[in-house]
Amino acid sequence: MASAKHLHPQEAETPVFDVNPVLGERATHYCPGCHHGIAHRLVSEALYELGVADKTILVASVGCSAFAYDYFNVDSVEAPHGRACAVATGIRRARPEAVVFTYQGDGDMAAIGIGESLHAANRGEKITAVFINNTVYGMTGGQMAPTTLIGQKTTTTLHGRNFHSEGGPIRLAEIMAQLQGVAHASRCALDSVKHVKEAKKAVRRAFDVQIAGLGFGFVELLSGCPTNWRMDPVSANRRIATDMIPVFPLGVFKDVKGT
């Protein structure tokens, strides 16, 4: 692991960006151009600004972000594939004072775990779910995800996803917004400075509603996966704007204000 010393401002330098203590100083295992790093940073900034890291519990899922607990300096538990929202429900009921969040990819949350996710949301569990949508299974090598775009080539849709045999991409943020227990549901993208700034606000809001006791907080982050898209990082970044956002519109689909 690389020394983190160089990350800190040296003498006579003015800090403009520093290590976030919630995220720690470890280099991640993520691929070049992957957006998990940005998503991790946004979550850690929300926890840091809210001053709640010391009472936060992370429920890790299965996928590329399975080892998110190696990076977040918070108490963590591993969930079976797809079950993070059920595990988070158990934690929430056992520890009403804690801040609880799940961090899940699209295979984990929108395929195998869609049942647990929708029902936890519908019960209005006071938890926050950070949903990474990169239209592909990353950890297992690039198979079709429920969010894969029509025509997108993956290792299990070599000729492109066909609507007539594989269905179309699931828009989870819109589904979440229909459930009564959901207090915040939004979709953001991590492909540009402007979008990342919007995402930061949305992630923060998804924690705010939990802490205010308003209900389930959900934020979907459109992310790049250059490795499994077989693209260089710059092209992958571009794909988010050209191909993904037209199918997955950005915006806040639901936001309950406190009384």
């Binding site: 399975a66 108490d75 595990v87 934690i91 056992a94």
Partner: protein
């Protein structure tokens, strides 16, 4: 719902399922997660009011998969938590149980089993013996398994189950059936002697529970509960640790022996079948037959040593309501020292002592 009014203090007339609910609450249950399935429905129905009245949390989950993962979450926090279900529902929980075992997470699982395979029926069955005692889920894991035969044992075993779960940081299963679950009988609703307080149990996992590191001081190191060990050799180490724990569990073995000292034949049966066998044996002893009863109360650990000791010069007959499951463990324990016969009752049938008399006599011939 049952009320204590008009009854002897501490005495209630309840079904096994209701005794489970009372036992769980009296043992300090804080979180319950479940999903409807017959024949265990009285457990969630009762706990949906009883548990919140005692300051706990009740969740009707979206599925057994959801329920067991809620148990994983609550258990990771180190609070007394449980699920209940029946056979097919327990099959769905096996993934979560394996994760709990791999992560050292305590929790209690009540299985009021039903006939199988598949949807089967809702009658009595002991067809989940393998599923309960051989781990059930993937990987080399073990559950501690308690087999109650009466409503009283349903109540008492809940205390034992929570103690074992926290001492060993492991899933504990209560394996009953439709007879145990539905039979209504008097129960002394008083915690068994030597019962641990819920506070003591929780203190046993103080060093591993997740809670937010601030609970341990501003600069405390974060904690992690997990079952994944990818680095070369790491999983081997984990499994060695689990195996040493399972070896330690062996001292928790419990069984009941009745009239075994002079017995030519010992009938081995667990749960409700142990009860029916006892009635048949009493009848045969009155007729001058030297027959004893051996009833395992823990199915894992299995009382191998006790059976080995009893084997020389005797015959064993295993009576169980399945197609032959516990008999395999008896044969392994005895290792050929004495003949081991088997009588199976088909799952879903209701049999009385009358129907066991002939099979027992045949084993004596």
């Amino acid at each position: 719902m049952n009320s204590d009014s008009g009854q002897t203090p501490g005495r209630v007339l309840v079904k096994g399922n209701e005794a489970v609910a009372y036992g769980a609450v009296d043992a300090g249950l804080q979180c319950y997660f479940g999903y409807p399935i017959t024949p265990q429905n009285e457990i969630p129905e009762m706990l949906s009011t009883l548990l919140p009245e005692h300051g706990g949390s009740f969740v009707q989950a979206e599925s057994e998969v959801g329920a067991v993962n809620m148990l994983l979450g609550a258990g990771a926090c180190g609070v007394p938590a449980m699920v209940s279900s029946s056979s097919c529902g327990i099959s769905l929980m096996q993934e979560g149980i394996s994760y709990m075992a791999g992560s050292h997470i305590p929790g209690v699982i009540v299985n009021m089993s039903r006939g199988g395979p598949g949807l089967g029926d809702i009658g009595p069955s002991q067809g989940d013996y393998f599923q309960a005692v051989k781990g059930g889920g993937h990987g080399d894991h073990r559950n501690l398994v308690l087999a109650p035969a009466t409503a009283q044992e349903c109540y008492d075993f809940m205390f034992k189950a929570f103690t074992l779960a926290f001492v060993y940081r492991n899933p504990v299963m209560i394996l009953g059936d439709a007879v145990v679950a539905q039979l209504k009988e008097p129960v002394r609703r008083v915690p068994p002697a030597g019962t641990n307080t819920p506070e003591y149990l929780q203190s046993l996992v103080r060093d591993q529970r997740i809670e937010g590191y601030g609970a341990r001081g501003k600069a405390a190191a974060p904690r992690l509960l997990k079952s994944v060990y990818l680095a070369e050799g790491a999983l081997a180490g984990r499994n060695r640790l689990l195996q040493s724990k399972y070896a330690e569990m062996r001292k928790e073995v419990l069984f009941e022996r009745e009239n075994v000292d002079d017995a030519d034949l010992i009938v081995i049966a667990f749960g409700s079948m142990g009860r029916t066998a006892r009635s048949a044996i009493h009848r045969l002893r009155k007729a001058g037959r030297n027959i004893g009863l051996f009833r395992p109360l823990t199915l894992y650990p299995f009382p191998e040593a006790a059976l080995q000791k009893l084997a020389p010069g005797r015959r064993f007959l295993v009576v169980e309501q399945n197609i032959g499951q516990m008999v395999e463990d008896v044969r392994l324990a005895v290792n050929g020292v004495c003949p081991v016969y088997w009588h199976g009752v088909m799952p879903g049938l209701f049999v009385g002592a009358d129907e066991l008399v002939d099979p027992i006599l045949r084993a004596l011939e």
